[in-house]
């Protein structure tokens, strides 16, 4: 199947494994243990148990009636990942990975985090299973996501500020990888998105595919047919790939990934690697990257810490190149407007990341007719962003 990576972890030319030799045995072990788990009925049962009883899945597929009326076009459904325990889709993946960490006998987990959602989701499962946990977070993100920092600490995790480079998600990821090189014998690195070296992009995608699988079942029940469009935000791209992947072979279902245009795609302050980058290697895989002419990685910018990343998952790069996915971008301002609108019209405060997907839907829905169906992945809730948005509402 075209959407499954080859044995070298390649999606087309993207993906692979670009790491220092020290990490190879741990990645091989992870791949082996994951492949075994995939064939193990007990593993699936255990994961399904935690997804249901602990995470609160399945999440609802909410018909956004007032938003649909307001826009006057396609019917809009929201996949409510914000209702998942800890407030975002991130727990789907961390539950899967913590079970693997237990299988491998690792005593400690580490993670990078941007907005803090993945950090919280990792700290949560570490608490649930009694593992030591350390979260690497850019100093700038610690500043803008102080609520999540406190949540992680409450959950018993150590939060280590990263002060190198741009002090955001990119540097937190680099620092987590550096820690892992030094602690690989007793530590599992819980990567939070569909990035990193083989087998992470495939494994994280598989854990997040529950989003698309549930959506498929629900929409068939509610509408008797598949949607015309799936819309999701793309930073590293885990909620979007989780939504898209189960529909890969349903060729009439269009995928729209929404990147962060920041101040605008014509400025140098955005996070739109698929729109404005070119292929390169960062954090263990080949993918579209924001980089200068020499290959130095460029600073990304987004109002939302979770989209503030110069790379993107390799499977998205592949979808772009084969034309399976369309990748667009919306600005900080459009995202904040959507953040406010969804709150007012549907009574749902979305995460700023997810607000990017809403913002594009506001443009797309009116161009379609009433028979069309759009499903938007509402990947997280916006409580964490309320403080930041209240500060900038005057500024934007």
């Amino acid at each position: 199947m075209a959407e499954t990576p080859d044995s070298r972890g390649r999606f087309g030319i993207f993906g692979g494994r670009y790491v220092i030799e020290t990490l190879v045995p741990a990645l091989d072990q992870l791949e082996r243990v994951y492949n075994e788990a995939c064939l193990d009925e007990t593993f699936h049962k255990t994961l399904a148990h935690y997804l249901k009883e602990y995470a609160g899945r399945p999440t609802p597929l909410h018909f956004a009636e007032r938003l649909t009326e307001r826009l006057g076009g396609a019917k809009i459904y929201l996949k409510r990942e914000d209702l998942c325990h800890t407030g975002s889709h991130k727990l789907n993946n961390t539950l899967g990975q913590i079970l693997l960490a237990k299988r491998m006998g690792k005593k400690r987990v580490i993670a990078e985090t941007g907005a803090g959602q993945h950090g919280v989701a990792t700290a949560t499962v570490a608490a649930l299973f009694g593992l030591e946990c350390e979260i690497f977070m850019g100093a700038e993100d610690i500043e803008r996501q102080s609520l999540n920092v406190f949540r992680m600490k409450l959950l018993g995790a150590k939060v280590t500020p990263v002060t190198t480079g741009t002090k955001t998600l990119k540097d937190a990821t680099s620092e987590a990888l550096r820690d892992w090189i030094s602690t690989v014998n007793n530590t599992h690195y819980v990567i939070g998105s569909v990035v990193g070296p083989r087998p992470y992009p495939r494994m994280v995608r598989d854990f997040q595919s529950v989003i698309g699988e549930e959506t498929k079942v629900d929409i068939l029940t509610k509408e008797g047919r598949l949607p015309d469009y799936l819309v999701a935000c793309v930073g590293g791209g885990s909620n979007s790939i989780g939504m898209f992947h189960p529909f890969f072979n349903d060729k009439d279902v269009k995928f729209i990934g929404v990147e962060a245009a920041g101040y605008g795609l014509d400025t140098d302050k955005h996070g739109a690697s698929l729109n404005k980058g070119r292929p390169g290697v960062l954090h263990g895989n080949m993918s579209y990257l924001l980089q200068d002419k020499d290959g130095q990685i460029q600073e990304a910018h987004s109002i939302s810490a979770g989209l503030d990343y110069p790379g993107v998952g390799p499977e998205h790069s592949h979808y772009k190149d084969i034309g399976r996915g369309e990748y667009v971008a919306v600005t900080d301002k459009e995202a904040v407007d959507a953040f406010k609108l969804l709150s007012e019209v549907e009574g749902i405060i979305p995460a700023l990341e997810s607000a990017h997907a809403i913002a594009y839907t506001l443009k797309l829905a009116p161009t379609l007719n009433k028979d069309n169906i759009i499903v938007v992945c509402l990947s997280g809730r916006g409580d964490k962003d309320v403080d930041q948005v209240s500060k900038i509402m005057g500024e934007i």
Partner: protein, 262 residues
Amino acid sequence: MSRIGEAFKKSNGKKLLIPFITAGDPDLDTTIEIIEVMVKNGADMIELGIPFSDPLADGATIQRSYNRALKKGISLRKIIAAIPKIRQKTSVPIILMSSYNLIYSYGDEALVRDASKAGVDGLIIPDLLPEDADELISYGQKYGVDTIFLTAPTSNEERIKLVAQRSSGFIYHISLAGITGTKSAVAAEVKAGIERVKEFSDTPVAVGFGISTPEQAGKISGYADAIIVGSANVKIVEENINDKELMLKKVGNFIAKLKKEI
């Protein structure tokens, strides 16, 4: 035989010293002077670090030196353009150490060709694994540039065999599970690690990461064919960044001490 191969052959069992230095920190002219001083004081080869924005295997010292050099506009192209100037001063082997993205961005074949033409003898690309390096190895053979791969304390037999089979010039053994310039190598572990590599290969083994003092270098050189010292040199540059004369003097003294102990 490559210049690197000859250096090991000529050594007659004497251990070689390979200091690492960041290219362009604080500027390329100073880098060239540092190399001259290193060679004068006993460096047998030079490992030249190519500054990258996100070096994953490097600790804070080398990261800071890369940032200093990048702020002043250093690039792989400028470094390669400066190699002939180094070649005018010394004939010791020059090895470039670079993250793969810079090479991919330059173009694999163009980079190997241009580097070879400029006088580079070998390439170390820590994030390019030997199983993914078919093309690079073939360009290396075509243009006469050694491709040096790494073994780690975590490497199993299968990995060591693969690295040994694909490395030319030497094998770079990482002394410890860690990044550069943070922890100290433990002699007994390094000994065991190198012995495992030697079991599967006749290629010379150089050991690096975690060697920062002449005493350590002396101890560990007993087990390896060459010693690589990196962050300690970069630190001397950093601490004397505003006094070039003193910087060069201290680098020279340090290299001489290392040389004496190995």
